[in-house]
């Protein structure tokens, strides 16, 4: 594998009929890292990816590879590998020919490209598939062939457009781990687009959240989850109850019903804020424990290893609590506390 390159997006903008579909997005993917671009459909993530790949021309902004501006370079000259949402495997070519196609385009002789295609297929665990037709592959196998085809050309950057979205849930979980392991082993710089934050968290080193064409926040999965920069990020990433509170800079006071408790705060918003209460940061507490609120269980959902309770704490506030304690029945009164500090706060 070649030495990995870094990828930089500098104020990348794309307009469709006077609307900024991608609005001055700036990002850097350090060499050898995996960045997931997450957003709902219509957030501009695929357009961003297509501009990086060279299939769309930005209205303004630049794409840089290491420090070289490649904004005007056509796709075939970028040396990028791409895995498409529907894999885009050539249906008339066999698996081995599909994988070797990029090498053929580079003028590699036949014996060499067959050997390298076989190596790439071995990397993704499909050493015996070279002679198979594309139609005979399962969804997971197609995904791996698409990955092998993109990796065999030793791309400077690997781009993945929703590569897991066509897989069934069980296969999807396995493929997440496999994808991450393969990409890390090869040390490839990769930009990975998905609408599914679980995919993003499971695969990527860093995650960038896009909404309405704007970059809301970029950071490690933990940073986005534990310290969302805004209400929009807190709402999109994971489940959270956003509860009105006040923050003096060190501690956040959360008033629910007639009871106010203070906790260590994390976040730059001051004064009237929203406290971000994640289900896994809350816990059912025994009676008499400090800093608890009483509430009524309005529904419970058994999810195997844990139970998710919806607890109404007052007329305005219902929170979700996940607990290994299965004992609370619907309609029962429970005590809820915040088990993990600091509590993230965002501007209302």
């Amino acid at each position: 594998m070649r030495t990995p390159s870094s990828l930089t997006l500098d104020a990348l903008t794309r307009r469709f009929s006077d609307r900024n579909v991608v609005d001055a997005v700036s990002l850097t993917v350090p060499a050898g890292q995996l960045l997931a671009l997450v957003g709902a459909s219509g957030s501009g993530k695929t357009t961003t990816l297509r501009m990086v790949a060279g299939y769309e021309t930005p209205d303004s902004g630049r794409v840089l590879i290491d420090d070289t501006d490649i904004t005007g370079t056509p796709p075939q000259s970028r040396d990028f590998g791409m895995v498409f949402q529907h894999y885009a495997l050539f249906p008339h070519l066999r698996v081995g020919e599909n994988v070797a196609f990029g090498l053929e385009a580079r003028g590699v002789n036949k014996p060499d490209r067959e050997r390298r295609a076989l190596d790439a297929l071995t990397t993704v665990g499909l050493a015996n598939a070279a002679q198979r037709t594309v139609q005979s592959l399962s969804g997971g196998e197609q995904q791996r062939v698409a990955l092998a085809r993109a990796l065999v050309i030793e791309p400077r950057v690997l781009l993945l457009d929703e590569p897991l979205s066509n897989l069934d849930p069980t296969l999807r979980r396995d493929m997440r781990d496999e994808l991450r392991a393969t990409l890390h082993r090869l040390g490839v710089t990769a930009l990975f687009v998905t609408h599914d934050q679980e995919d993003a968290f499971a695969v990527a080193d860093r995650v960038a959240l896009l909404a309405n064409g704007k970059l809301l926040q970029a950071g490690t999965p933990e940073e986005l989850y534990d310290a969302p920069a805004s209400r929009a990020v807190a709402s999109f990433i994971g489940h959270a109850a956003l509860v009105p509170a006040s923050n003096d800079g060190a501690r956040v006071s959360i008033a629910i019903g007639n009871t106010t408790h203070a906790f260590a705060a994390h976040g730059t918003a001051r004064g009237n804020v929203l406290a971000v209460l994640r289900p896994d940061a809350l816990a059912l507490a025994r009676d008499g424990a400090p800093r608890t609120w009483k509430g009524t269980v309005t529904s419970r959902r058994f999810a195997g290893g844990h139970v998710a309770y919806h607890v109404r704490l007052d007329d305005r506030t219902t929170v979700e609590v996940v607990s290994t304690d299965r004992g609370a029945a619907e309609g029962s009164t429970v005590s809820v506390t915040i088990a993990r500090e600091p509590v993230a706060v965002v501007a209302p």
Partner: protein, 557 residues
């Protein structure tokens, strides 16, 4: 036997018998006719240099037509679906116009334009100061030119449809892997379009093989199989005509089997979504070239229609050596309406087309319903029977009918139709069967088969289910199929020329008669009438379908 399968057989039995009688039986008569005198007719065919030449020329013209139509249709489809340039819309609007010309009418237009005394020919002669016409426009070349003009439309439509369905992420993937434009085209795009291109080539090949009008008018001394059959029949050499017909039909079936096999081998399902994006042509030189090409192409495509309209207003008998007709009048059209003898062909054409289309609708709806929604033993046979007339050249169909329905002999399943009005509507009907059945099958195939069971389960009887479930599902194909068969009937010439009598002569035959009389204005006026009828049918069918769709949307809304 359950009620349902009994019902299926009550419909399928008579239908199979009817189609076997009308489609297969005449062909058996033809084949049997070749052996009426032992192997003499075959020996005569094999020994005849004229027939060998005709077969060779037919194949040369057919292959040449395929190459020419592909050379025009494929680039045009790419140009119009993949690129944006000044003049694209205008070119797109007229690209299918040659299809609106009934076969003989197209030939007449080319005669007025490029024939030895045609307007373009005389213009070139004047321009270059030549003593004689620069070309005679007879032989193989004019036939190829007319075929290319009328048949590239098939290639264009098939390839454009293929490109609309084409998953463009495959091209993007290839580009991303480093493939340049040429490699992408050679290794990815063209191989994936093979089924579309092969399908279109097959259609062009079959149409050229069966083509009659162009060789008949422009052939000069050139013999082709379809005209050879008519010549043998007129000479009373029926045995030879049967052999020629059999050879032509077998060639067509062989081509069909070969190309279908090839098409199936290279047919792949696209996994992604087809997405069409037209890239603007950026380079100034290429844009100018594309725009100029578009203007020239639009002019060339419109020229035959414009010429017919112009000549339709020319006074008969005064256009001799002048570049353009010297006198213009409305009289040609007025006479078509006033003069009974001139009106009869129009009335005949309308009556025979309406009859054939109505029969096609009834029979093909039943056949398509059985093929798509019923499982029974004779289904494959029925499928084959409805597609068979497509593989058989119209001259062969006509000769089969002429040899089968030439006497009353009910025990031998023969009825006397030759020489009566009914033989032509019957020929039109048989030619229309594959068109209408195929279109209705396409529509019914999109219907969820459980809808019929659901309706029955809710207590609907057979009639209610037919009216509210099956008929609405079949309707788009029914309208499209009826439109296609009506257009074919309006301009039908090939079967008509074999089977017509003076009293049931259609417009196409009358056009030929007027040309022979040098009544160019009247011939052109008839041609314009046919074009207007074709346009009216096309627009009417579109209107009708969209009106029905609107009415349904309003009910649902």
């Amino acid at each position: 036997m359950s009620d349902r399968s009994r019902g299926t057989w009550l419909l399928a039995g008579p239908l199979l018998a009817l189609l076997a009688w009308l489609v297969v039986f005449p062909n058996i008569q033809v084949i049997a006719g070749t052996f009426a005198h032992g192997l003499d007719s075959w020996r005569e065919f094999l020994a005849s240099p004229g027939d060998r030449e005709a077969l060779r020329t037919t194949l040369v013209i057919s292959i040449g037509s395929v190459l020419a139509a592909t050379a025009i249709g494929v680039p045009l489809a790419f140009l119009l679906t993949r690129f944006d340039f000044p003049g694209r819309r205008a070119l797109g609007a007229v690209a299918t116009l040659p299809n609106a010309l009934p076969p003989l009418v197209g030939v007449v237009a080319f005669l007025f334009l490029y024939g030895e005394s045609g307007v373009v020919t005389r213009s070139v002669q004047h321009l270059l100061g030549l003593e004689h016409a620069p070309w005679t426009f007879t032989g193989i070349w004019p036939i190829l030119v007319i075929h290319a003009y009328t048949m590239y439309v098939y290639v264009y439509l098939f390839v454009a449809a293929g490109l609309e369905r084409y998953d463009s992420s495959l091209d993007e993937a290839a580009a991303g892997l480093g493939a340049g434009r040429a490699l992408r085209l050679r290794r990815i795009t063209l191989p994936l379009l093979t089924p579309s291109i092969a399908g279109a080539m097959l259609l062009v090949f079959m149409s050229s093989l069966a083509s009659f009008s162009a060789p008949y008018v422009f052939g000069g001394g050139v013999r082709v199989m379809s005209t050879q059959i008519l010549a043998s029949k007129l000479n009373g050499a029926m045995g030879l005509a049967y052999v020629e017909t059999t050879v032509l039909a077998l060639t067509a079936v062989a081509a069909l089997v070969l190309l279908r096999w090839f098409e199936r081998r290279r047919s792949y399902a696209m996994t992604g979504k087809g997405r069409v994006s037209r890239a603007p042509i950026v380079s100034r030189g290429a844009r100018t070239a594309a725009a100029v090409t578009a203007v020239i192409a639009v002019a060339l495509l419109l020229l035959p229609h414009a010429m017919l309209v112009l000549v339709a207003f020319a006074r008969d008998g005064v256009w001799t050596t002048q570049l353009l007709p010297p006198e213009y009048t409305l009289d040609n059209f007025a006479r078509l309406a006033r003069d009974t003898q001139l009106w009869i062909p129009i009335r005949n054409t309308i009556n025979m087309t309406v009859l054939a289309t109505a029969a096609n609708i009834v029979v093909c709806f039943a056949a398509a319903y059985l093929i798509v929604l019923r499982k029974f033993r004779g289904r494959r046979a029925l499928e084959l029977l409805v597609i068979l007339p497509w593989a058989i050249p119209a001259t062969a169909i006509a000769l089969g009918l002429a040899s089968t329905f030439n006497r009353n002999d009910p025990l031998a399943a023969r009825v006397l139709l030759v020489g009566t009005f009914w033989i032509l509507p019957l020929a039109y009907f048989i030619r229309g069967v594959p068109l209408v059945a195929n279109a209705i099958q396409g529509s019914l195939a999109q219907m969820d088969p459980s809808l019929e069971d659901a309706a029955r389960g809710l207590g609907a009887n057979w009639w209610l289910t037919l009216r509210h479930v099956i008929f609405p599902a079949a309707r788009p194909g029914l309208i499209a199929g009826a439109m296609l068969t009506a257009i074919m009937g309006i301009g039908e010439f090939v079967a008509s020329v074999v089977l017509y009598t003076h009293s049931n002569r259609p417009v196409s035959i009358e056009i030929l008669a007027q040309l022979r009389d040098l009544s160019f204005g009247t011939a052109a006026a008839y041609s314009v009438v046919l074009i207007v009828m074709v346009l009216a049918i096309t627009l009417g069918a579109r209107r009708w379908e969209s009106k029905l769709v609107r009415a349904e949307t309003a009910v649902l809304g």
